[in-house]
């Protein structure tokens, strides 16, 4: 029974981590992920919901931490390596799944689009050669015939260009294709991260259909992986005891992200001959925010493209981390703004009610009573009791008038003493 219990404990910890990982989707760089993070709004009802969610999230994290601690305590005396392997196994499986998905997709895209491109090339090349032969065969033609031939050639060129072929492609034999393995990997990376430069796109029908299906299943996988890695980095940051203040951590993350982008921009400025520093920084920012215009995109050797892919992934993880930390601080600030808003409203209400009282003592009395009432009630919506209880039929009881006055005087003195 003991080995089975150990196995189930491992599975239990894995499944308990999964909801947290799923919740981490909200910390990713993409729109879907950011939506969850920035769901909180400054309205009061949303504030309450925010507090509930925040408590739930913190409780879940505490549970995850407790589970990890328990598993660590249980496994520590037995085998430390096994414990570390189990802790890292989930992250490694997720990374491996994403990388495998990217490479498999690249391979399939290469198969589909390369064959389609060859077919298109053969077709247009045949048309082109037939046209050339036809033009050369009959030397004495009328002007109208020559113009028709030129118009036909122009329309053929336009159609070929629309389908991805350029006239210069016909000058040399078409041995290498634009859809090489490395360019396909770059393409699948930009699809899954929803950057989408657009310099290389599927043109055939099969390629487009496959692209749609590929994105439907691949984008969530990529979001989960990046969110998981961002959480891993965030935990490493939290483990530092010297970085307790949130503002310091936020500043550190933002400075690190800016430094990363600046260094990357310098590297691209050196490697790309046509780009200035502003162009490089522009490319880095547009890529890491997943806007991806595609007017600037890296073109080069295999190593260069692989380094670009690694740059994109690391940058997205840092961006997700920055949005996570900044989002937390932003939400806290929104809460404080909301409370300030309430305070302003209360001050306005006080000013409105000030006109109802003539004596200053009465004003201070009511203010003190209100403050005391609020402290006692904890901002509940109950009506505050500013004075002693007076029965409805007090006027009809004549023998109580003097005692009532005496009791009100004693109440006044009590409040003034308070």
């Amino acid at each position: 029974m003991h080995p089975r219990g150990k196995f189930l404990a491992g599975h239990l910890s894995a499944f308990c981590i999964t909801p947290t990982t799923t919740a981490l989707i909200s910390r990713n760089h993409s729109d879907w992920a950011h939506l969850q993070l920035l769901r909180r709004t400054p309205s009061s009802d949303a504030g309450n919901m925010n507090q509930i969610h925040f408590g739930t999230a913190s409780a879940r994290r505490r549970n995850a931490m407790i589970l990890e601690n328990n598993s660590g305590d249980e496994d520590a005396p037995k085998q430390g390596f096994l414990a570390n392997l189990r802790l890292a196994l989930f992250h490694l499986v997720l990374i491996f799944a994403t990388v495998a998905y990217i490479i498999a997709g690249a391979y399939l895209f290469t198969k589909i689009e390369h064959q389609a491109e060859l077919d298109r090339y053969q077709s247009y090349h045949t048309i082109y050669r037939n046209f050339i032969n036809n033009l050369y065969q009959s030397s004495n033609r009328s002007v109208a015939d020559v113009e028709n031939l030129i118009d036909t050639f122009t329309s053929i060129n336009f159609r070929a260009f629309k389908e991805g072929l350029k006239p210069t492609d016909f000058l040399v034999p078409q041995e290498t294709s634009r859809w090489s393995m490395i360019s396909a990997i770059f393409f699948t990376t930009t699809v899954l991260t929803s950057i989408g430069y657009g310099n290389l796109i599927p043109i055939s029908t099969g390629g487009k259909i496959f692209c749609v299906g590929y994105a439907i299943f691949g984008i969530p996988l990529t979001l989960v992986t990046i969110a998981d890695l961002a959480k891993f980095v965030a935990d490493m940051l939290i483990m530092d005891p010297t970085e307790d203040p949130k503002t310091g951590r936020q500043l550190l993350v933002l400075v690190f992200l800016l430094g990363y982008m600046t260094i990357s921009a310098c590297v691209y400025t050196i490697l790309e001959p046509m780009w200035s520093f502003l162009d490089s920084f522009y490319f880095c920012l547009v890529s890491l925010l997943t806007v991806g215009f595609g007017d600037l995109h890296p073109v080069g050797t295999v190593e260069y493209m692989l380094c670009s892919i690694v740059f994109i992934f690391i940058g997205l993880i840092l961006t997700t981390l920055a949005v996570d930390v900044s989002g937390s601080v932003g939400i806290a600030k929104m809460h404080s703004i909301g409370r300030g808003f309430d305070a302003m409203k209360m001050l306005n209400a006080l000013r409105v009610r000030k006109s109802e009282f003539v004596a200053k003592g009465a004003v201070s009395l009511s203010a003190a009573a209100r403050v005391a009432g609020r402290r006692l009630d904890g901002q509940q919506p109950h009506q505050p009791r500013w004075f002693a209880y007076v029965p409805k039929d007090a006027l009809t009881i004549p023998y109580i008038d003097e005692s009532a006055n005496v009791s009100s005087r004693t109440t006044t003195t009590t409040h003034t003493s308070i």
């Binding site: 909801p19 729109d31 920035l38 400054p42 009061s44 929803s194 657009g198 487009k208 806007v291 215009f293």
Partner: protein, 372 residues
């Protein structure tokens, strides 16, 4: 008493005003803020990139006119003397014009005529602003000047969080509405089932009354022992049927309560909603742009997932005619609403996945407890 009533009324008025301000600030105000920000971006980018585009177009036009003049002069003068010299002059001029064209294309020339067509119209700039803050980024229209690129970076840094806040807020509201509608449909379904079962119970009760009447008629004629036996049998059957019908009604109510308590929308319904929205967009763009079904669906999918290759682009929206303005407005609304709908669907699907994962975890935990 009058004073207390007045104070409570004042307090209620203050609370009401507070709620109204919060609602405006969180929902309608946020929509207005996003639209205003996009319009501001349109004005800025048109002011910055428009003159640059006009300058480039004028440059190309001047170069073309100069090339034509040079070629014409060469033809007019040199043709009578030496054809080799003519060819050399013409080829040199064509090469120079080609160089000017290539440089202009790198700076943003796109083949449009000076004074007739322009890429950076107000509508084009508006669509560009929208694609920046939604991170779609088609790339057909892109900033070319240093000021334009710098402003694009600043605009994106401020606008993208604003857009995320907007989508989160609207997505949350839409998720609540969707869940409410789903709950209402469940209640309606179970109400119909209850009504059907009540009708069935009424039929059974009527049949029982008929049987009892027949039994009573028969009792008058027959002897007492046979009468008591028949009456008892009828009563037993009637009680059994009534109890069964009541149990069925109770089961239906319990099922309805359980489903309403869970309050999770199934993933198939979410996926169906999203596919329906994509279908609507596919139809619209197919009619407008003359694309095939696959191309329209492909464009809608690539846009709403914010990949935005830019190979398909709603080009007829980017001009200055009134019809193009309407198309631009509808395209913008489609994209914004579509992204909010996608956020809603993702939200609901996430809840469903979390619930299932928690259920699996609980199952494993209970299994472990049984083993222990």
């Amino acid at each position: 008493m009058g004073r207390r009533h007045r104070r409570s009324k004042v307090t209620r008025v203050v609370n009401l005003v507070k709620k109204i301000i919060a609602f405006f600030f969180s929902h309608i105000g946020l929509c207005a803020l996003v639209v205003g920000y996009a319009l501001l971006g349109a004005v800025i980018f048109k002011a910055v990139e428009g003159p640059h585009e006009a300058e480039i177009q004028e440059l190309v036009k001047s170069a073309r006119e100069k090339a034509v003049d040079v070629v014409w002069n060469a033809t007019f003068r040199v043709n009578r003397l030496d054809s080799k010299q003519w060819k050399k002059t013409v080829l040199d001029e064509v090469k120079r014009f080609k160089t000017v064209c290539m440089l202009s294309i790198r700076k943003g020339y796109d083949g449009k005529e000076y004074g007739k067509q322009a890429q950076w119209t107000f509508t084009g700039a508006f669509l560009y602003s929208l694609t920046v803050i939604t991170t779609i980024g088609y790339g057909n229209t892109a900033a070319k000047t240093y000021i334009g690129k710098t402003l694009t970076m600043l605009y994106a840094i401020i606008g993208i969080p604003l857009m995320l806040l907007f989508l989160t807020n609207i997505g949350d509201v839409m998720a609540k509405i969707f869940r409410f509608l789903y709950a209402q449909s469940i209640r309606l379904k179970f109400r119909l089932i209850l009504w059907h079962k009540k009708r069935k119970a009424a039929k059974i009760r009527r049949a029982n009354s008929l049987v009892s009447r027949l039994t009573r008629g028969h009792r008058v004629k027959a002897d007492s022992s046979v009468d008591s036996f028949g009456l008892g049998a009828g009563a037993d059957v009637e009680d059994l049927l009534t109890a069964r019908v009541e149990m069925e009604q109770l089961e239906v109510r319990e099922t309805a309560a359980a489903q309403l308590e869970s309050m999770t929308v199934p993933i198939s319904l979410v996926v169906f909603t999203m596919l329906g929205y994509l279908g609507v967009g596919t139809t619209i763009f197919k009619v407008w742009e003359g694309w095939t079904f696959l191309e329209s669906f492909y464009f809608c999918f690539i846009s709403l997932t914010t990949i935005g290759f830019g190979d398909k682009f709603p080009s007829t929206s980017v001009s200055n005619t009134d019809e193009a303005q309407e198309k631009l407005v509808i395209t913008s609304i489609y994209l914004l609403f579509g992204m909010a709908l996608l956020a809603m669907c993702f939200n609901l699907a996430q809840e469903e996945v979390q619930n299932k994962t928690r259920w699996i975890a609980d199952k494993f935990r209970s299994k472990e407890d049984d083993d222990d």
